[in-house]
């Protein structure tokens, strides 16, 4: 009897949890690459690989959190990467061209990104554009603004990367606390905070409910427009955070920043069990989804698969994730 209740109380919730199967997939990938690289006489499973993987997901993680929160509420934002790159340029320009202190630059960067997010939100909640279209337009606008901002105060109107050598930014991008890179710590804190926000707070409960059924949530007095507005701004501000880390890491505000992360935020969120239909999934899943995606990419690199093929396979992974999401939602609907 005791044994069964122990199983029911501790073991069963873990193995029936959605994230559990994702962790299994992640472990399977690690085993696969360990054996594969061992067969080639290389070593995959070592501390530096782990750090590489974690380091590689830092930039994407902020996009994933923003995209994940929006997806759970039943919406999406395609402009994240462009807004983030814009933010990275704003930060570099404010330090290099406008001679502002680094922290003022960060504030301006996050503020302007928030404004772009608010424009997304207004287009979607007030003027009822489909978010796909509104944020696609924002993607283009943010790119244009990025080029424009990279020339303000420069004395030339040719857009270019902005090299920035600021000790504080360098620390944000490359510094470590003990053996752990600063970026990884910030990322883990963000995942934790947003995970708690989603599962323990009132707004989190409202987000889950409105993602599950927006019409019902509205009729039950949940102001879904207000929440959606906050989530769009949140996604853009988080993109700005990604932009700050990008500028710190590269030592320059790059016009090509976050390009490779364009949709990996969204991919990781869906891979992590956040449904395209909204109302399900969480931050733990998004985190593991991100790990799976990057373990796969780095592992393929270690065993020497042509990087072009890695792109192809990443696309296939997204398709599989979308297909499982679609099938499980259809099954739910037929209940």
């Amino acid at each position: 009897m005791r044994k069964e209740s122990f199983y029911r109380k501790y073991i069963r919730p873990i193995i029936t949890h959605k994230v559990f199967s994702l962790v299994i997939i992640l472990l399977a990938l690690v085993v696969l690459f360990s054996i594969w690289s061992a067969a080639q006489g290389k070593q995959f499973f070592k501390a530096s690989t782990l750090r590489n993987i974690l380091n590689s997901i830092v930039l994407t993680s902020f996009l994933t959190i923003g995209a994940g929160m929006l997806l759970i509420a039943g919406d999406m934002d395609l402009s994240q990467a462009a807004v983030g790159a814009f933010g990275g340029i704003v930060l570099a320009a404010s330090i290099v061209y406008w001679k502002l202190p680094w922290f003022v630059g960060i504030i301006i960067c996050l503020l302007l990104c928030g404004v772009l997010g608010a424009i997304n939100a207004i287009m979607v909640t007030r003027y009822r554009f489909p978010s796909f279209i509104a944020t696609l337009a924002m993607m283009s606008m943010a790119k244009g603004l990025m080029y424009i901002f990279s020339t303000i105060g420069k004395g030339s109107d040719v857009a270019s990367n902005i090299a920035v050598n600021n000790p504080y930014l360098n620390f944000i991008g490359k510094g470590t606390i003990g053996p752990v890179p600063f970026g990884i710590i910030v990322m883990l804190v963000f995942f934790l905070v947003y995970g708690i926000l989603l599962t323990k707070t009132k707004i989190g409960l409202k987000i889950m409910l409105m993602g599950g059924n927006k019409a019902a949530a509205n009729l039950a007095g949940i102001n879904s427009k207000k929440i959606l507005f906050a989530l769009f701004v949140n996604a853009s501000v988080l993109a700005g955070v990604a932009g700050i880390f990008s500028t710190g890491r590269l030592g320059q505000g790059s016009l090509l920043a976050l390009q490779t992360n364009q949709f990996s935020g969204l991919t990781a969120a869906i891979l992590g069990g956040i449904s395209f239909g909204g109302g399900s999934g969480g931050m733990g899943g998004a985190f593991v989804g991100l790990l799976i995606l990057n373990t796969f990419q780095i592992g393929m690199g270690v065993v020497g698969v042509n990087p072009y093929w890695v792109n192809v396979f990443s696309g296939v992974i997204l398709l599989i994730a979308l297909a499982t999401d679609f099938i499980s939602r259809r099954r739910l609907r037929s209940v």
Partner: protein, 404 residues
């Protein structure tokens, strides 16, 4: 698509080469249009025609197929008097050509105008066939109403203590509604009867702050109110259980407890977190109060029966954190089995006894007549009459619901 292409959709004439023969198509379409005595250009896109002529194009399409049986389902709804006359002439013409015409309508006058025989259906069952020439409108309505009022209603414990006016709606108008006025008292069950599309749901939505109001006034306990969204209405003490439980009522894939607490999440404070103990307590109380059949409050509402789902919604609107003064129920017994219906009826009466004013919208006439203290009858966005229960008969209410 042009008129002629629509008429010949699926059977476009072709030339010897297999290309489509525009000239022949034009000629044949013109021929049919002339036969119908209409003034329509075969080349005109259907989208640019008025609704009546669009309907005529549909009919010509059916005629062109040379079918022996042509069915019209409420064909006159979008038509004006003059257009209805043209349609009826057309139907007579079809009849003369030996075709069988099935004409479905809720407008009794039209039925008597064009039919030879009338088939009466009720609740999906065949009732009887009447010869049009040998029957009267009264006899027809009687056949439509039937006689199967069980004693479910006789055993209800009703509220006989109706209080002051809580909600007063005065000349409410919007895109659908025209000058809707009525009063609702404490502990009263106010039934709303009418045909589908009469505007009953729209009244509920307008009061609840979902649909905008163009003119008129709503007074809650004497004070004029106008809610911009359901949240404001809920805080003022109005609750709405929508007609479509699945898509507007419940978040199906969430638990019973989440669904119960939806409107009161903001009151569940424990620092910055949700007070899960309070949440569980509220949900347990709802399950107990309405004897919702479930092993646990963590069960998804999609796994409950229709009756239990409706009880979850009732639990939501009557939990102790709510100050519900007016409860609007839109088709609460839709898709619910007979036993659960009786339970819902008693629950509604109990709520009235607690002093809640209930608006009860239903398409089941027997239900409204036997449950409600007063019945508001609507027709095309207008109130055609308010009938007290003592005077209410199905014939009377139905006549009001169909009055033009």
């Amino acid at each position: 698509m042009s008129v002629m292409e629509n008429i010949f959709a699926g059977a476009l004439p072709k030339t010897k080469l297999g290309l489509f023969d525009k000239r022949r198509l034009y000629n044949e379409a013109t021929e049919i249009i002339r036969k119908f005595g209409l003034d329509i250009d075969p080349l005109e896109p259907v989208g640019q025609l008025n609704i009546a002529h669009q309907q005529m194009v549909e009919i010509m399409k059916a005629y062109r197929r040379n079918s022996d049986i042509i069915a019209f389902d409420e064909p006159t709804a979008p038509l004006t008097e003059k257009e209805i006359k043209i349609l009826f002439e057309l139907i007579l013409k079809l009849k003369e050509e030996g075709k069988v015409v099935i004409y479905v309508s809720h407008r009794l006058a039209e039925i008597f105008q064009v039919t030879d025989e009338i088939v009466v259906l009720k609740d999906g069952k065949f009732v009887k066939t009447l010869k049009t020439s040998e029957t009267t409108e009264a006899e027809l309505i009687k056949a439509m109403v039937g006689r199967d009022i069980g004693d479910t209603y006789a055993n209800l414990k009703r509220n006989d203590n109706i209080g002051d006016v809580v909600l007063e709606v005065d000349k409410l108008s919007n895109l659908v509604l025209k000058d809707v006025s009525f009063k609702l008292r404490r502990g009263e069950i106010l039934g709303f009867a009418g045909l589908v599309g009469a505007g009953r749901t729209e009244v509920a939505r307008a009061i609840f702050g979902v649909d905008p109001i163009t003119s008129g006034e709503i007074r809650l306990e004497g004070k004029p109110v106008s809610f911009k969204n359901p949240g404001e209405a809920i805080r003022a003490g109005i609750a709405l259980a929508p007609e479509d439980r699945k898509y507007e009522g419940l978040v199906m894939f969430r638990s019973i407890k989440d669904n119960v607490v939806m409107p009161v999440i903001d009151t569940l404070n424990k620092g910055i977190f949700v007070d899960k103990n309070e949440l569980t307590k509220l949900a347990n109380k709802a399950v107990e109060k309405y004897s919702i059949k479930t092993p646990t409050i963590d069960k998804k509402t999609s796994e409950l029966s229709g009756g239990n789902q409706q009880k979850v919604i009732l639990g939501r609107w009557t939990n102790e954190k709510m100050v519900t003064k007016v409860l609007i129920l839109d088709e609460p017994t839709k898709g619910i089995d007979v036993g659960a219906k009786a339970e819902i009826y008693q629950t509604v009466c109990d709520l009235a006894r607690q002093g809640i004013a209930v608006i009860y919208i239903s398409s089941e006439l027997t239900e409204v007549i036997n449950l409600a203290d007063n019945i508001v009858v609507m027709r095309r966005g207008r109130v055609t009459g308010i009938v007290p229960r003592e005077e209410a008969t199905e014939e009377k209410v139905l006549a009001l619901a169909m009055r033009d």
